[in-house]
Symmetry: C2
Subunit: 447 residues, 2 copies
């Protein structure tokens, strides 16, 4: 579990001030993405499980409290409040694995103001990373057109926690396996991996390396590009002749060079040797665009290993995600800063479908009933997770597959869809915004 100190200092100074002032009425905060990046037609919500686990278990240890006290910034009132902190609020959220669009809440926290404020940083940190990662991985999976995608990215993901969470998010999005053992252990993900170039290099002689490896792991994938890719494939053919019926190698892996032409040539060499059932696995700097390009050129590739680009969401390494106060003490709240006028109040999202295809979303006030399927539902009540709010990872993955299947084809594709998928605002919510803006302007210009 994360330390309670994984937060921004200002969350604590604000809570200190709220407590001093007695501001502990109910507040609602909404976690959402302000704008979709140009290269994302949708986002795949992910990270709710960690968000809820955090809210259920967040405590301040005596060591953490002592350190906070040592800063000499906080009131005894705050330190005492933190010592007894338990999250007592409600949470409404869209299930993990649900496609969402700009301005749609991924989750809403309803709790006494100091509690709802305190948890901001960690909730964003986790939901942001995991939604970012699932959204990227969904594109790679889409590009692979049903071929397995294996996550190879842990070495260049941003630290240990990202290594874990991104592997999980990729699984939600449909990635087939991960090279990351810790993620395999923690989440029960299928793990995959065989050899690196260093293995071949340590032997010098490539055929000797293949021979030794296959003795230990007969049903393996051999990496063939250490010296010369097609020479490497010929060594595999040679090994097959040597071993006869004992040859059980499942695939060769190409990790560099012109993968279209190498895959064609490798396939030809293998087929000519009667090794039709040896598959071709491609890796090496791949992303969704490159996977799509390879398949558009009919490269006979059976599976893809994708690393860094998916692991750090290289083209879009961050989302414009915010956690905003939308209601306090029963009044809608918003911000008027340049270019950032928001929708006040708690919300619901209705997704309207025709023949199983999503046609538009409508952002509505919480409690409004409109046509379509409501996406947010309550997952936590008074600090406790609802009984049906603990889907298994496989259920989440199945949910993602089904929900992605409801998206219009052009929204799932890699290229930006124009016009974007329509997200409209209900008349009720628009009216509420006008009212809140009017009240606010009156307050601001009052003498």
């Amino acid at each position: 579990m994360a330390s309670a100190l994984l937060t921004d200092l200002y969350e604590l100074t604000m809570v200190d001030a709220y407590l001093t002032e007695g501001l502990h009425d109910e507040a609602a905060f909404s976690l959402f993405v302000r704008r979709l990046p140009a290269r994302r037609n949708f986002l795949l919500a992910c990270g709710l499980e960690d968000a809820l686990a955090y809210l259920e278990t967040l405590r301040f240890s005596s060591e953490e409290l002592a350190w906070l006290e040592s800063l000499r910034r906080f009131s005894p009132r705050l330190l005492d409040w933190l010592e007894h902190f338990r999250f007592t609020g409600d949470v409404h959220a869209v299930p993990e694995g649900t496609p969402v669009f700009a301005e749609e809440p991924l989750l809403e926290v309803v709790a006494p103001l100091p509690e709802a404020q305190l948890v901001e940083t960690y909730l964003i940190n986790q939901v942001h990373l995991q939604t970012l990662a699932a959204s990227k991985a969904a594109r790679v999976v889409e590009a692979a057109q049903g071929r397995p995608v294996v996550d190879f990215g842990v070495r260049r993901m941003h630290g240990v926690d990202a290594g874990l969470k991104v592997a999980r998010a990729a699984h939600v999005a449909g990635v087939s396996a991960t090279s990351n053992l810790l993620a395999g252990q923690r989440y029960g993900l299928p793990v995959a991996g065989t050899m690196a170039h260093s293995y071949v290099q340590a032997h010098g002689d490539e055929l000797a390396a293949f021979r030794a490896y296959v003795r230990r792991f007969p049903e393996t994938t051999l990496l063939v590009d250490t010296y010369d890719t097609l020479e490497g494939v010929r060594k595999v053919v040679e090994l097959a002749r040597e071993l006869g019926p004992d040859f059980q190698v499942r695939a060769v892996r190409l990790d560099s060079g012109d993968l279209v032409s190498l895959a064609h040539s490798a396939r030809w060499l293998l087929d000519a040797a009667g090794l039709e059932r040896v598959q071709i696995f491609a890796s090496g700097g791949l992303d969704e665009d490159e996977v799509a390009r390879l398949l558009a050129h009919h490269a006979p590739i059976d599976a893809f290993g994708v690393g860094t680009a998916m692991g750090v969401s290289a083209d879009v390494p961050a989302l414009d995600m915010a956690y905003k106060l939308v209601e306090y003490a029963g009044h809608g709240r918003l911000k008027l800063s340049t270019g950032k006028v928001l929708l006040p109040g708690r919300k619901q999202v209705f997704r309207e479908e025709e023949d199983g295809v999503a046609r538009r979303d409508v952002l509505a006030r919480h409690g409004e009933v409109l046509p379509g399927r409501p996406l947010l539902r309550q997952v936590m009540h008074v600090g406790r997770r609802m009984e049906d709010a603990s889907p298994t990872l496989e259920e989440i993955r199945a949910h993602a597959r089904e929900e992605l299947g409801h998206l219009p084809l052009e929204v799932r594709q890699l290229e930006p869809v124009r016009p974007p998928y329509p997200v409209e605002v209900s008349p009720g919510l628009l009216a509420e915004r006008e009212q809140v803006v009017a009240e606010l302007r009156e307050e601001l210009h009052a003498p």
Copy 2:
């Protein structure tokens, strides 16, 4: 400490094969960046501390071993070896906070092949992230021209571990403080932060919010852009009149809008009210380019809060970092794959300076003595850290400041320097490469 399972499956399958074959001679692996990204004139080495701590403490728990056994992939020999694993190798490295260039080893591991192979994934994971982060932060600090930069990025950094490590790397690179309390506690970093928009919104009335906050935290920074930035500044002026000598506010923070014109206007309003000592703090989607632009337009900004762009190194979210076998059993090793011919053998880097300014680096064979200052030194011997290989974080930060001061001005600047800083290869190393390539080609074409 990281779990021993934070690794790629193939490290373990390769080690299993090495053990089966009896390949446990000494190997040398080199960790380096193949190419500098277009927008990086140099990288700032970071992450060695975590790499060494990992090598000193890496153990496999019985729970981890039981899980590995449950995969039914590994030999009893491997599981037994893992159970008794202790890293017994040597490490040579450039100190944290040293600028490095493409192909220059950040660290070299010299150990029995299975040991050196096993640790690959975690070493890259940590050195990659921290070098990436320090390199980005150094650019932001450079752009700020001596003004303090505060790290605000934890909420959109990739997970908890990145939150910690990036804050540390930013400190190494010269960032002044962080909003991240956990990083503050763990590393003793100065922490900073006061209020978010939600604080002002919860009050509705902005002046009431400022008044309440200042009562609790008199020497604070007030966020003035929730509704209208210059109106917010006028409220601060009003509060100063109310409080008279009790007014101790240190700064106003501008977080949106046209920061050049808002900073000028805010400065004018404050000065006109006799509040010359109230500083202007700017934040909101800043990166090094925007900081440079603001200062080029003479925006009267005293300090910067920089978040996401620095926290995820948004323009360059990953480096082409590799950990390559360069020597086995006394023989230089390399890879010939397309576009990836490497330099074999262990190395040293000599940095030649004139009048305190670095003029060129020379990549040499380990043991060569050439003009200039050698950058790599031994930091671990037989699994134990050398006595002088535990600098404090403040020493590392001071080292970075000094080393950055030795770089040519054009290399420190934000724009790509053409031609790039020269990194040459010593005749000794070139000769070794030719010899290894010749040997390898002979082996490859032997009958």
